[in-house]
């Protein structure tokens, strides 16, 4: 009898055993993961649609000649850096160091704000050059349309991330926060970084 109970407990504690917490996380973190996965599917749809447009288009402008790659690389640098700092914020929150957590959160927000400012500059420059959703001076209409949709959708996520981070930072400064809330905000911020890694490679470089 004891052996069967021990065996049952061993199974429940295994990766696929279920147990009290099937995925080994608390509900808030697991819900964040579910949200991230569903959001990833949305971006996957957008990027696969972009691949479809690229493959069916008879030509495509050379992106490195259309866009300022110095600016795009700088934006990538800023977002990767803010992601690293966000990871430090999570570490500080877990260690119970609220002061360090607030400092790192603030630096992450600054990074995100710089990224958004650069994107606003890039958009305004692109619009000034005559690029619209249905036509552009560089070639096929899909070129500008996919740019606005993909980078716009990502930019909206950055803006949402900044709002979430600001709320978490203010709450942390007031002492009203949990390590899980900082970690969940961090998961979202890293996801925004992951999406940009794809956009950078497939939209700007390929």
């Amino acid at each position: 009898m004891d052996a069967s109970v021990a065996e049952q407990q061993r199974i429940l504690a295994s990766d696929w055993g279920g147990g009290k917490s099937p995925f080994g996380t608390d509900w808030a973190k697991f819900m964040m993961w579910i949200f991230i996965i569903s959001d990833a599917l949305t971006f996957a749809g957008l990027l696969i649609a972009y691949a479809f447009m690229r493959a069916t288009s008879p030509s495509w402008p050379v992106q490195t000649e259309v866009f300022s790659m110095v600016l795009i690389t700088f934006m990538t640098f800023v977002l990767i850096s803010s992601s690293a700092v966000m990871a430090m914020a999570v570490g500080a929150a877990r260690a119970g160091d609220a002061k360090a957590a607030v400092k790192y959160l603030f630096l992450t927000i600054v990074g995100g704000a710089i990224f958004l400012a650069c994107q606003a500059y890039e958009w305004s420059h692109f619009i000034a050059e005559g690029a619209r959703l249905d036509h552009n001076p560089f070639g096929v209409p899909q070129f500008a349309a996919s740019f606005y949709v993909i980078t716009g959708f990502h930019g909206f996520h950055v803006l949402s991330g900044l709002t979430i981070l600001a709320i978490v930072a203010i709450r942390a400064a007031m002492g009203k926060y949990s390590a899980t809330s900082v970690e969940n905000a961090g998961l979202y911020w890293h996801f925004v970084d992951v999406v940009w890694v794809f956009v950078f490679a497939f939209y700007y470089l390929l």
């Binding site: 917490s21 050379v62 070639g139 490679a201």
Partner: protein
């Protein structure tokens, strides 16, 4: 301040985050170099960029998002969008590359779509 259920399993320190950040920047520069080599065949360029991108997201996922501390079922769940993307891409690739033998008429609004050879100036050739 409260802690989550798996607090014990996060020994990652700032030094490892810094190392990861350095690797990510290095791979970004590598991807940039690949992007600037216009003479490279598209297929090789695509394969290299996909490889670098996957390496980058694996690093971000494992280190920054702490996936290396999570249970395997959650880790596998997070990679489902990648798998579905690959399925969707290869499902449509026959049609998009116009290699599907069932592909007969390619027209848009009654006008024949230019063949892959008759591209506009200044763009990538297909």
């Amino acid at each position: 301040m409260s802690h989550s259920t798996n607090d014990h399993a996060h020994p990652t320190g700032n030094r490892q985050y810094f190392t990861t950040w350095c690797w990510l920047l290095l791979m970004t520069v590598f991807a940039l170099v690949i992007g600037y080599i216009h003479s490279m065949p598209e297929s090789i360029k695509a394969a290299l960029l996909v490889g670098v991108t996957l390496a980058k997201i694996l690093l971000i996922g494992r280190i920054f998002m702490h996936l290396k501390f999570e249970k395997m079922n959650l880790v596998m769940l997070t990679f489902s969008p990648l798998l579905l993307s690959a399925i969707l891409y290869f499902m449509t690739s026959g049609e998009t590359r116009m290699t599907d033998p069932t592909h007969e008429v390619i027209t848009h609004m009654g006008v024949e779509v230019p063949s892959p050879g008759s591209h506009e100036a200044g763009g990538h050739e297909k």
